[in-house]
Symmetry: C2
Subunit: 327 residues, 2 copies
């Protein structure tokens, strides 16, 4: 059994706990939390709850620690620190800062002989793999990534920070005509506005100026100004009833040409339709935790990404079973 630890018990942490239950060769040994450990009850019988400050004390109890913090401030600190004591997997998703994060984790991991797999999940993660595999096959082509229909937590948070907003949920929605044009191999050049629209469901405080809130949302730089955005004001009850979940998904599509004179066209598409973004992400994290453990057992160390992992290491089945049944 691979002994799993969790750092951070929010949506992702609870998802890892459920994912561990779904895998026959993993068991949850401990949850590390920044809250008072005595205040936290986890679902897994026999799993300990420890303070996040005590990672080093428990280094012999855990084979792989799965980091469930945020990419903005948590993971840049936590992953290089935690990899001193454990093999780790994180879901660092700030694309622009990947090279820096990789270097920090790599240094600490090599010094202590551990494996740290970063940026695991679906984007980055499975979508990255879809991009890599489709690029090496269709060497001459175009890449497209569409996200949604799904809840963007960053955009929902941005709306919540507006004065007069009590709560909000934002859906990112791919433009159907754009997706169809790509699938048909027409290689469109698409602006930001042509690829996705944004749908906002907003609960306003009583007496708030709805026109101002709508204007502030639609003109918000980076988040909404470059998109066609619709704003719906709804009640707290309707938000709770209709928008409680965290669905997401999307498609990575590559189209390209082959042949001596580029005479043939091909389309590769990888698509996800997810009821629960965090639960899907954590199912991916646990599979890569297995690979981290196995790589370390082979004597390897250092930072890795999904690109570095032989797929066979992700499965609880043996290579012989995989060749016989899935190849």
């Amino acid at each position: 059994m691979i002994r799993i630890g969790i750092l951070g018990y929010g949506n992702l942490g609870r998802g890892v706990e459920a994912a561990v239950k779904h895998n026959p060769d993993t068991q949850l040994k401990a949850v590390f939390t920044r809250r008072d450990p005595a205040s936290l009850t986890v679902k897994t019988e026999g799993a300990a709850v420890y303070s996040a400050d005590s990672l080093g004390t428990h280094k012999d109890e855990i084979d792989v620690l799965i980091l469930c913090g945020g990419s903005a401030t948590d993971l840049p600190e936590q992953t290089p620190e935690a990899v001193k004591y454990f093999n780790v997997v994180d879901s660092f998703d700030t694309h622009a800062r990947v090279p820096e994060h990789f270097a920090n984790v790599d240094k600490a991991a090599k010094e202590t002989g551990h494996i740290g797999i970063i940026s695991v999940g679906w984007d980055p993660g499975m979508f990255s793999l879809a991009r890599l595999y489709s690029n090496v096959i269709l060497t001459d082509g175009n890449d497209y990534t569409f996200w949604g229909r799904g809840v963007s937590q960053g955009h929902s948070d941005a709306i919540r920070r507006i004065d007069g907003v009590k709560d909000a949920r934002q859906y990112t929605v791919p433009v159907p005509e754009a997706v169809e044009a790509v699938r048909a191999g027409r290689n469109p050049e698409l602006t930001t506005r042509q690829k996705h629209t944004r749908e906002c469901y907003v609960v306003a405080e009583e007496g708030a100026d709805l026109a101002r809130i709508e204007r502030e949302i639609k003109t918000m730089p980076n988040y909404f100004a470059d998109y066609d955005t619709t704003v719906h004001f709804i009640s707290a009850e309707e938000l709770a009833k209709e928008h409680a979940g965290l669905p997401h998904g999307g498609s990575v599509i590559r189209t390209g040409r082959t042949g001596w004179n580029n005479e043939n066209s091909h389309t590769i598409e990888y698509s996800l339709k997810l009821d629960s973004n965090p639960e899907f992400t954590t199912q991916v994290l646990v599979a890569f935790a297995r690979a981290a453990y196995r790589l370390n057992q082979k004597g390897e160390s250092g930072a890795k990404t999904v690109f570095d992992i032989p797929p066979v290491l992700l499965s609880a089945q043996t290579p012989e079973e995989l060749r016989a049944h899935l190849l």
Copy 2:
């Protein structure tokens, strides 16, 4: 530059030649043929043409030999023999005989210090990877593979062997209702007949008994008897005009549930739409030839499948470039 050789200059061999041209770090050094080498002209300037009997003589001229023979009789003999002299990649696609073929290639490859990657292409190959990745993520779920709409060369050949048939082209067609039920997460139990239909375009000899030919097709065991099959008799001209290509494609879909109480559903789909089955296959073969070369440069040997290859080894880009641009 990775020096590529081709064994067999049919549809696949010519596809490899074109794929080598599409990759910046590969060059075609030689084509080995069972025909008279003097009778064969290849498109690549400077590439040699040698007899298939002379593999061993040219072992220092080639880094990776790509085997372009058939799975029924060619590859079981050719791959274990060729791997004595070269790193090799083949597209062996007889699923049931993979374990035996793997063992034969592994033994010869380890004895001589080469890498032999078998069963590379799209199924087995990319579809196998799609099945593996989706299985390790959605641990509790169902797998579906649909093929087509596309030309099955095996089924076309089977029709051509019927008395009175001059030529034929057979399309495998997924049943749209079945695909939709799977995509919607309804987890249908599907019989062979419910998953695919078969469309046959047949050129009969003058005066042939069309009713008998149609009956022989529709009742042919293994190939057609378990399917709803339609037979269209057409002229040789129409076959040449409308059915000259070798399009194919299909989808690997896995649906599954996650959560502490299996409360959430997810769908993963990997789809291909290919103008040219052999050209797409050979683009995959050349990417894995790069990986075979690199693994061997690291000192590894033995048989491998797509499951064993870290994706990073498939790309002409550096790991740093991949992390910065595709992750």
